[in-house]
Amino acid sequence: MTDINSIILLVVILLNFFILGSARLVACIRAVALQGALLALLPVIVHGFSLHSLGLAGGAFLFKGGLIPWLLLRAIREVRIRREVEPLISLVATLFLGAMATVAAFLFADQLPLIHASQAGVLVPASLATMLAGFLLLMTRRKAITQVVGYLMLENGIFIFGVLLSTAMPLVVEAAILLDLLVAVFVMGIVLNHVNREFSSINIERLSALKE
């Protein structure tokens, strides 16, 4: 059981690296969708079959593996962009920072005062690493759509942490988070379209200037 668990989390961490190092937006979105779908399996594996865990898994799978990536891909098709042209710092440097963040997450997780059962696996470090990678993406990218991908990764990290507590965490809380995320993606998509129509570019730097 814990074995499948740690393999899934390992793939999730590798996908973090892939997203941080990839310049192609479509590949980024597909990777984050795969990450969400893989993570949806976790509650069932950790807590066994029950109505609660199945609901959690099904909801996460539908939203993060299907609906949100589909919306993002559609938004990309409408604004016709393919690549992250110029990230704030180079892709290799981002990758390097991501790796350092991952190592730091592993070292930090060992120091946390958790109960012994949750100390054993790679759940906590993987969750911290995914959150940090999400932050990194939010900080270093200029395109609005990559920032949405960063939010999704952040949510994935929180989801991994939530799996630890999922017996204590009511379904409603997770459902509310997913709904928030969906609304955020919707709003982002609409904003994206408007920004694109207004400035004929979706670089978020333009938003900080008041006048053209």
Binding site: D3, S6, I7, L10, I13, L14, F17, G21, L91, V92, L95, F96, G98, A99, T102, V103, F106, D110, V122
Partner: protein
């Protein structure tokens, strides 16, 4: 020990050119052709060995030393690595560092021989080769460190020995899987295979390894081809030993398993070459830094 050495060298010398044939055959099958005979490299080597060679007047002894060292280095390196369950005849603590840097020595002399001709194209190839291999080196060192941590030894014989079977089953399976992928990428880089370099290209501008040996002909070129085939088998052995850790009580069956593993590896390389396009030159360092980071991550997993 002398017998062990002889068996090791005989296996290497006889079997290595076959792998190149298998790679070519796999690629031909994917392209819908019949392809050259599997033994083509043996015929090529014989033909080249009988020919004379032309040596430019501007070159010095370095030009002649390049191919010789390129042929001798894989032979020495092979003595330090176990072939399946056949133990390494030459094994001592810390030989893994010598193993890595022997190949660096061969690369230095190949690059020096290329520069010795004074051709601008060959200088370009040498610069590329050295750049990419210095990025590949950390990956292989970290991968070997992971194995050293797991086995508790410092010689390749122990690193690739009995502990692997237990390690795969135990908690460190994921880390071993990661370094297996990293080592495969290093194998492709070091042997100038397709995602990184095209061994069959005819444009000097896109070549890396092939451009460095343009001026070698006849027996010297045969030595380069043979050296490349030997290097593929020695580095491939690292991967096969790691991926197939099972041992049966019969030594013949073990040997057969090891050789079958090598054939499978050659087919895998052929498949990768058929389904992938060459990466742009600027992407190669990114990929190599990525594999380095993954192998560092594997080390962190093991050290935890």
């Amino acid at each position: 020990m002398i017998v062990g050495m002889l068996i090791h060298l005989l296996l290497l010398l006889l079997f290595a050119p076959l792998l190149a044939g298998i790679i070519a055959r796999t690629k031909a099958l994917f392209a819908g052709r019949r392809g050259q005979p599997v033994l083509q490299l043996y015929f090529d080597l014989l033909r080249l060995a009988r020919k004379g060679s032309v040596i430019s007047k501007t070159t010095t002894w370095v030009f002649a030393a390049g191919p010789v060292i390129g042929l001798v280095v894989p032979l020495i390196a092979a003595l330090m690595i176990p072939f399946g369950t056949l133990q390494a005849p030459l094994s001592f603590d810390g030989d893994l560092i010598l193993f890595v840097y022997l190949f660096a020595l061969a690369r230095f002399f190949t690059a020096a021989a290329a520069l010795d001709t004074g051709s601008s194209f060959e200088g370009m190839g040498a610069a590329r080769e050295v750049t990419f291999s210095c990025l590949a080196e950390p990956t292989i060192m970290f991968a070997l460190l992971v194995l050293a941590k797991l086995s508790g030894g410092l010689s390749l014989d122990i690193l690739l020995g009995d502990h692997l079977n237990a390690s795969w089953r135990g908690g460190s399976g994921p880390a071993l899987g990661l370094i297996l992928v990293c080592l495969f990428v290093v194998l492709l880089v070091e042997n100038s295979r397709i995602p990184f370099d095209d061994p069959n290209t005819h444009l000097e501008l896109t070549m890396i390894h092939e451009v460095m040996v343009l001026d070698h002909s006849g027996p010297a070129f045969a030595m380069i081809l043979y050296g490349a085939a030997l290097k593929l088998m020695v580095l491939g052995t690292l991967i096969v030993n790691l991926a197939l850790p099972w041992a049966t009580p019969w030594w013949a069956l073990n040997l057969l398993l090891y050789l079958a593993g090598l054939v499978l590896l050659a087919m895998l390389i052929g498949i990768v070459e058929s389904v992938m396009a060459r990466l742009r030159l600027v992407r190669i360092p990114q990929v190599l830094i990525g594999t380095t980071l993954i192998s560092v991550f594997a080390l962190v997993l093991v050290l935890r």
